[in-house]
Symmetry: C2
Subunit: 204 residues, 2 copies
């Protein structure tokens, strides 16, 4: 009798393995053959779950975006702007992998219209979330009245993306404290004096 196979579990495992290869060795190294080898299954099995490399990459990218949003949502629910930003800071190995994958995909934008579309949608969604949070904090009297919430959201999203890229290229030069110093300096320009939350340092 053949062993029962949990397809969802095997599919997830194949995705995890592909993600690991991509994070460690780059997009070029992700091939159906290599994923099959690392998973200890045949290429036919990998192909059963994913038509080809492009489909596998697209699914990985989508899963990544979903995970990042779930993380940010948990912070947003608590009115925690810094927490929303921490979701995207490169503070642990999981987030190093996530950003590497994101970067590898971005580079494909010209040849993959579907990826460009997901990225556009996810950036728009992040801007809306940040803008909503900033507006809410401004109504509560925490954010200074002269701050335009939409432009502040654009500043924050830009800063997060650019910071992550710098960190990715030189992790030893960017311990968490240095990343927090940059993000906190940015956040201090938004909050009213005396209304800075506990997780944003006040030291300049």
């Amino acid at each position: 009798m053949p062993a029962a196979v949990d397809h969802d579990e095997r599919r997830t495992r194949v995705l995890d393995i592909a993600e690991g290869i991509l994070a460690e060795a780059g997009l070029r190294a992700v091939t159906v053959r290599e994923v099959a080898r690392a998973a200890g299954v045949s290429t036919a099995i990998v192909s059963h779950y994913f038509r080809d490399k492009d489909e596998l990459l697209l699914l990985l990218f989508r899963r990544n975006v979903r995970e990042a949003f779930a993380y940010a949502d948990a912070a947003a629910a608590k009115g925690d702007l810094k927490g929303m930003i921490e979701a995207a800071m490169v503070l642990d190995n999981a987030r190093v992998a996530r950003w590497r994958i994101w970067l590898a995909y971005l580079a494909q934008l010209a040849s993959h219209p579907e990826i460009a579309e997901i990225q556009r949608g996810s950036a728009a969604e992040q801007l809306t979330r940040l803008g909503t949070m900033l507006r809410c904090l401004q109504e509560r009297g925490d954010i200074a009245p002269h701050v335009d919430p939409d432009i502040a959201a654009e500043r924050l999203l830009s800063l997060i993306m650019g910071l992550a890229i710098q960190v990715l290229f030189d992790p030893p030069a960017w311990p968490p404290e240095r990343q927090h110093a940059v993000v906190d300096a940015e956040l201090r320009t938004l909050y009213k004096v005396g209304r800075l939350p506990d997780n944003v340092s006040s030291a300049p």
Copy 2:
């Protein structure tokens, strides 16, 4: 008698053509064969100038970094912080191409240690330039005394990179005015009241 060939000119032309293909169709489309076809020469001639695709890409990346620095240096010489930032804003097609190339390379970081090294060096150099400029403007009394020039440089470089990536994915949504609004809002947090230069808008 064979026509005299200007090797420097031909080499530059091959690089230009490779850059055009990369900016339009992505990294995957850049092959020695395709570059030769577009340049109207044999693959043997392209291979004469560049050992392989990787060498061609590395030279393109280096040329890109050099061009961006020359642009920023011209602004820095005039004490023009906003001008330094404009060097990296996606304000015309040439800069769209430059950023697309940069992005395509970044994605190769895991498999190309040399590119990661160039990127690290160029980020460090840009931070130093921005930090020096900010320190100088602070000594002149333009930048507020509470601003830490090194952290402000990190904020600015992060913001520029992240903004460019957002623009690249959705150029129609990001006309120059919208990009200027984000950059100017950031710069306003650094300058003293009444010391804002003419090319930074004061409207919030």
